[in-house]
Symmetry: C2
Subunit: 270 residues, 2 copies
């Protein structure tokens, strides 16, 4: 699955034996990650990925060197021109239990994986996940390594015709898909959950909001609930690797319009 792997800037000869047993990413999920698209040797939205990673490190108190990660990415891109790039940073090794060792250097693990096989960008069937996301404003928005909720949610279904599961939080607010953000179009306005209590502030989500602004569209980040899907003309999900995908069906809901998503795909992804 792994095409190339770097640990702390060095090519890993044996990806099956690479990470320390006391790495804090492994032991506590004490770190962050990014998943980006590498195409023609370039990372799509590289700056946005690096900015989010840096912001997450600042929030968690993990030291971050942007130039180190940029060098890793350049090294990967010199080995392979395309794939799914994953950057994991952890608070390094050791420390006394949960409390980290402030002198431990940040650990970087950068891997390249094959591109996903072809998939539709329109006509998606999605479902509701039963698992509810927990709320914690201190962790909300970050792409941290504590992802057990997403793992359990994706394991709720195996049907390959269901492209994504939409998730509510423990209070019933609509948050996201298991590995995507969600947008709705209502009366011509573009709406997406504000992610104050949970969820990941996706790189593609930010690009969509920026594009909407540039196009002069009305858009808003706000609390949304399942009933907000009742009177919408269009629904789509976004993800840095898979882009912008239009949803056609969610249980009894059917949506035919793909106009807004189509225009955003043209602006952002062509």
């Amino acid at each position: 699955m792994t095409v190339v792997a770097l640990c702390d800037g060095s090519i890993v000869q044996d990806p099956a034996h690479a990470v320390a047993v006391d790495d804090r990413g492994l032991n506590y999920g004490d770190g962050l990650f990014e998943t980006a698209l590498l195409r023609d040797g370039m990372v799509r939205f590289a700056d946005a990925h690096l900015q989010r990673l840096e912001q997450g490190c600042n929030r968690l108190g993990i030291r971050f060197s942007r130039s180190d990660v940029e060098r890793d990415i350049a090294r990967i891109a010199s080995e392979a021109r395309e794939g799914v790039l994953k950057v994991v940073v952890t608070r390094g090794v050791g420390g006394r239990g949960y409390r980290g060792d402030p002198s431990a250097p940040t650990r970087r693990i950068v891997t390249l994986h094959p591109l996903p096989s072809s998939y539709p960008v329109e006509g998606l069937t999605v479902r509701w996940c039963e698992l509810r996301l927990s709320r914690n404003p201190l962790l909300a928005g970050m792409k941290h390594l504590n992802r057990l909720e997403q793992v359990l949610a994706q394991n709720e279904w195996q049907d390959p015709d269901v492209a994504e599961g939409l998730m509510l939080d423990t209070e019933g607010e609509l948050v996201c898909g298991t590995s995507s953000n969600v947008f709705i179009v209502r009366n011509g306005a573009l709406l997406t959950p504000d992610l104050k209590f949970s969820g990941v502030r996706g790189v593609m989500r930010a690009q969509v909001l920026r594009a909407a602004q540039q196009l002069g569209w009305t858009s808003s980040e706000e609390p949304l609930w399942p009933h907000d899907l009742d009177d919408v003309s269009e629904v789509f999900v976004t993800n840095a690797v898979r882009g912008i995908r239009s949803v056609a069906a969610l249980e009894d809901h059917r949506w035919e319009s793909t106009a807004v998503a189509g225009q955003l795909r043209q602006v952002l992804l062509s």
Copy 2:
């Protein structure tokens, strides 16, 4: 820090390069752990640790072989007679994103660490943590690898005279210490949070509840709130490695009694 390390039953020659880059424990916190005391070549409360690990694996859908872990522990105990034993199990490697590969074998990482340096079991000063624990009944009670909340909570203070931080959840319920469970004694009854929404069901916590029952004491697991500390005669925190430790001070609170904790230490730990 690591005295002995086993991965999948084999002694690790180089603990700094042992775990796969695509291990799901590292990438998603997709696994569980146990921390136990090894003394005279025996794991204290071994059965309770193994039972909890098995229950956690069942809840997360991770395959578990008790005999494999027992063999690992015997192997460790043949190398060193005492220390802090840590068992990590993960959903193995790979899979498509969050969704695991159901054919991937469970990964076991068993390590032995030095015993903690000597510490008081009475007269502890504790503090309140600012970070609130998120609530998720589907994850509550398990010792899973998503521990970012505990990491951030322990990093709130560095004063070595503060032995533990007590944690509330996002609704304000008292849950636990950062790496311990908490008990209070009120009108002769032993009370501890019920952990329905967050927290770890500690092995030592279960031993205390069992001992209380055997001693004919009144005990209860129930929702507790900070104001429940206002009229209690005794407070103690429990942890499988450090045992049962009496709290003397928490901000304006002072507790002198250590009678209940002392009796439990005698019954369970001597």
